[in-house]
């Protein structure tokens, strides 16, 4: 199938078949991280720092080692030194060295014959700490006299005179912003703040690992990317990568948080120290919240100018993002997303990546984009309100389109923001009339999407069915979408395709299921690999017909003569070719390895209707609409699912999710009881429109769909609350207390 055929009707793509792993997942048979055991297996527990910042003076584990059932104890001393800086940071976060940098930082780990024995041993380990000053808030951490989180943490990009907690600095832009502001009829500015949010996957991290003294090991783990796990474990433990076989379990949600290591090297080290016995580590929910994820917290200054007829003339942002004790907040991504939806003559961006005594920030769905959207889309809404302009019309006037230069530089190819805005405007939700204390908010969001390193293989079974092997774990239905694209490529029924997710030894390197890439990248690679086998099948048929291979073409599951000149042959089905393959040259299989490009940018627009209780500040979401360009929806149900899931995560972030720290720098809400992700009764149905402006660089027009949906809810809800209360909240979460205070005082103090 040629790329110019992507506008054609498809037979399988765009249908909604049952997912191949559905049966396993509704019967409890699917095996997740904690669901396997092995003979002789030990259970491990991890000792974690009770302090936000402390020097570890001494760890005495002798008493613990003598307890019944204890087989191995590891501390930092059990891990090799001499790492490059990135590996050292990974190792430091896996297990503390001289310093504990945050509440929950791993200090030691124990493997024992039962969970209870391991936990008892943890309690028996004596650690002498020297408590050090800590800093939690991003605006506090950037002050010159702030407690220093880690000495010499700033990299080469940091200008002189910055706080020692600045890890990196970035600045970019184009055009003359002051000239742009001069041309505006209204210029507004403001400071916006967002709290850290956790990815909140329901499955805690879990793995079972085994490592022998000869350096050979294996691991079963819930992860978005097992090659990443292999690479990182090998690096921090000094192993040879290829000797470590990592098999991904089914994964109970990740959202970016399962793209790195936490407990995995500990399990391997414990296994090695216990003589190669398998070791299982399952995190508790409290450990997940204290020591994994979350995303960054942000403090953002924004200034935007607009003409009275709604054209954006200029914009500048300074984002300060706290990404935990090792840096790595998504500040540059946030900056790239800030004005990406708009064609503006002048933009300027400054970003600081800042350290604080918090867990190391992990990627979370469109990292950085939700914060940027909150700041920029809120301020645009304020300007629209002041100028009495329709928020969708303003966005239509400024929306980027094919050929425009993005706010961060490169030109856009075919994109669908305008189509998305138009579909939003036409939806009935935009005209439902509202009552007292109710308000409507509109906001756009952007994610650039990602292709990345990808390896796949396909093979033909003797009955004409097809096995596809990919390296991207299925988090939300990607087996189904990959099977659909495979079926479409061959022209065989969806049910004749099986998609397998392979361990690290079975394929070349694969990046994780992240960056909205699984369907896009594995799909593109599978298309290429499948076409290799189609070419091979055509060659074999050509040999049989004794004609030139170019005179055979493939259509709907059959090899056919290319035209009357090729000869008069009856088409041969894939089934027949498969049944004869042992006699025609042996197995037929294809593979494809590439760094996938042509990702196709993704834009979304959301409308939120809310009601605010003016006496308690409680916000109820009445109606919610997600409109997003999917390029091509391979399995529309799972595309809708991504839209809805992203939106609800954004709603949670906007309204009630936050990390609550005590004055001691310890996390106070390390449980789902008080880390309040949305529950079913908090929400209305989430309406969706899938816009399809095909990505010209993908064989089926796919754009990634997973991430964009989490960005617009933050500003959409803030804009809706502002419309309902006539008060603008510039900090998240918009918890009842904050909303009530804003109603009473006219501001949330940000």
């Amino acid at each position: 199938m040629a790329k110019d055929e992507i506008t054609k009707e498809f037979k399988y793509i765009g249908t909604r078949p049952n997912r191949p792993d559905g049966y396993d997942k509704v019967t409890g048979r699917a095996k997740y991280g904690a669901d396997v055991s092995a003979v002789g297996m030990l259970h491990a527990a991890v000792l974690r720092s009770p302090y936000a910042h402390a020097r570890i003076k001494c760890i005495n584990w002798e008493k613990a080692a003598k307890l019944s059932g204890v087989k191995a104890i590891v501390t930092r001393d059990d891990f090799p030194n001499g790492k490059d800086e990135d590996t050292l940071k990974l190792l430091e976060n896996t297990i503390a060295g001289e310093f504990a940098y945050y509440d929950g930082h791993a200090i030691a780990a124990v493997a024992a014959t039962s969970v209870f024995a391991a936990k008892e041993a943890i309690k028996a380990i004596e650690v002498e700490y020297e408590v050090l000053p800590h800093v939690i808030d991003v605006d506090e951490a950037i002050k010159p006299d702030a407690p220093v989180v880690r000495e010499n943490a700033g990299d080469f990009s940091v200008p002189e005179g910055c706080s020692p907690n600045v890890a990196s600095y970035i600045e970019f832009g184009r055009g003359d912003i002051s000239n742009g502001f001069d041309k505006a009829d209204l210029v507004k500015s403001g400071r916006f703040k967002t709290e850290a949010a956790h990815q909140g996957y329901i499955e805690p991290h879990a793995c079972m690992a085994q490592l022998d003294h000869d350096g050979q090991g294996e691991m079963w783990v819930c992860t978005q990317g097992h090659w990443y796990i292999r690479q990182m474990c090998a690096a921090v433990l000094g192993l040879e990568s290829s000797k470590l076989c990592v098999t991904p379990s089914e994964i109970g949600g990740g959202f970016g948080g399962k793209t790195t290591i936490f407990i995995e090297p500990l399990a391997l080290a414990l296994s090695k120290k216990s003589g190669g016995r398998p070791v299982k580590i399952v995190m508790s929910r409290a450990e997940v919240l204290r020591a994994t994820g979350p995303t960054a917290s942000a403090s953002m200054d924004v200034k935007i100018g607009m003409t009275k007829d709604g054209y954006l003339t200029s914009g500048s942002v300074e984002f300060r993002m706290q990404g935990g004790a090792f840096g790595g907040s998504p500040v540059s991504e946030a900056l790239q997303c800030a004005f990406a939806s708009y064609n503006m003559p002048a933009v300027h961006h400054i970003g600081y990546d800042i350290l604080a005594n918090r867990p190391r920030a992990a990627a979370y769905r469109a990292p950085g984009s939700p914060m940027a959207a909150f700041a920029v889309e809120s301020l645009i809404d304020e300007i629209c309100t002041d100028l009495s302009l329709d928020p969708i019309d303003v966005r239509l006037k400024n929306a980027v389109k094919e050929g425009d230069k993005s706010s961060y530089g490169p030109k856009f190819k075919k994109i669908g923001l305008i189509e998305t805005l138009e579909a939003t405007k036409d939806h009935p939700n935009y005209s439902v009339s509202l009552e007292v204390n109710q308000g409507r908010g509109v906001a756009a969001g952007y994610w650039m999407n990602h292709g990345g390193e990808t390896s796949v293989s396909v093979s033909l079974a003797e009955d004409g069915s097809v096995n596809v092997t990919v390296g991207t774990p299925d988090i939300g239905g990607s087996r189904a979408s990959i099977a659909l694209m495979t079926a479409e490529t061959y022209g065989i029924p969806y049910d004749s395709v099986s998609v397998n997710i392979a361990e690290t030894g079975a394929l070349g390197f694969n990046e994780p299921t992240h960056g909205s890439r699984a369907t896009l990248a594995s799909g593109k690679a599978v298309y290429e690999a499948a076409n290799q086998t189609i070419s091979e099948m055509c060659r074999r048929v050509a040999r049989k017909w004794q004609i030139d291979p170019d005179a055979v073409f493939w259509e709907k599951g059959y090899a056919k003569p290319a035209g009357p000149n090729a000869g008069d042959f009856s088409p041969i089905s894939i089934k027949q070719i498969a049944s004869e393959m042992d006699k025609t040259g042996g197995p037929i299989a294809g593979h494809h390895e590439a760094s996938i490009r042509g990702v196709g940018h993704s834009f979304g627009v959301h409308i939120a209707d809310v009601e605010v209780d003016p006496e308690t500040g409680r916000v109820t979401v009445l109606r919610y609409l997600v409109v997003q360009d999917a390029g091509r929806a391979i399995h529309p149900s799972y595309v809708e699912g991504q839209f809805q899931g992203g939106a609800v995560q954004g709603i949670g972030w906007a309204l009630n999710e936050e990390y609550v720290y005590g004055a001691d720098g310890c996390l106070q809400n390390a449980a789902f009881l008080d880390y309040r992700i949305p529950v079913a009764s908090d929400l209305p149905n989430i309406d969706t429109i899938i816009v399809e402006v095909p990505n010209p660089d993908h064989p089926f027009g796919v754009r990634g769909v997973g991430e964009t949906g989490i960005a617009p809810p933050l500003p959409a809800l803030a804009n809706a609350v502002a419309a309902a209360t006539k008060v603008r909240l510039r900090s998240l979460p918009m918890s009842p207390a904050k909303v009530l205070k804003a109603i009473k005082t006219g501001s949330d103090g940000c």
Partner: protein, 82 residues
């Protein structure tokens, strides 16, 4: 054969305050070599991971694929995804 290279603002201090360079290079790999030779201050940035957008399309730093003449190349910080 020259390509147009755009740098983000904070890199200007290593390129004599230029944020746009015209460089003779036939591939990204060659471009990286020229940048590192002529502007050594860029090396740590390149080493720490950097992306190149070639006419709107991200490319690898070691790519040997030929660059189109007059290509518009943006240096970008390496991206994460959730």
């Amino acid at each position: 054969m020259a390509v147009n290279v755009y740098l983000w603002t904070s890199l200007k201090k290593f390129t004599n305050e230029e944020d746009r360079l015209s460089i003779e290079a036939k591939s990204i790999g060659e471009l990286v070599g020229v940048l590192e030779r002529d502007f050594p201050g860029l090396k740590p940035f390149i080493d720490s991971g950097i992306s190149f957008a070639v006419n709107g399309e991200l490319s690898n730093p070691n790519s040997n694929e030929p660059l189109p003449d007059g290509a518009e190349i943006y240096l970008m910080q390496k991206l994460k995804g959730g």
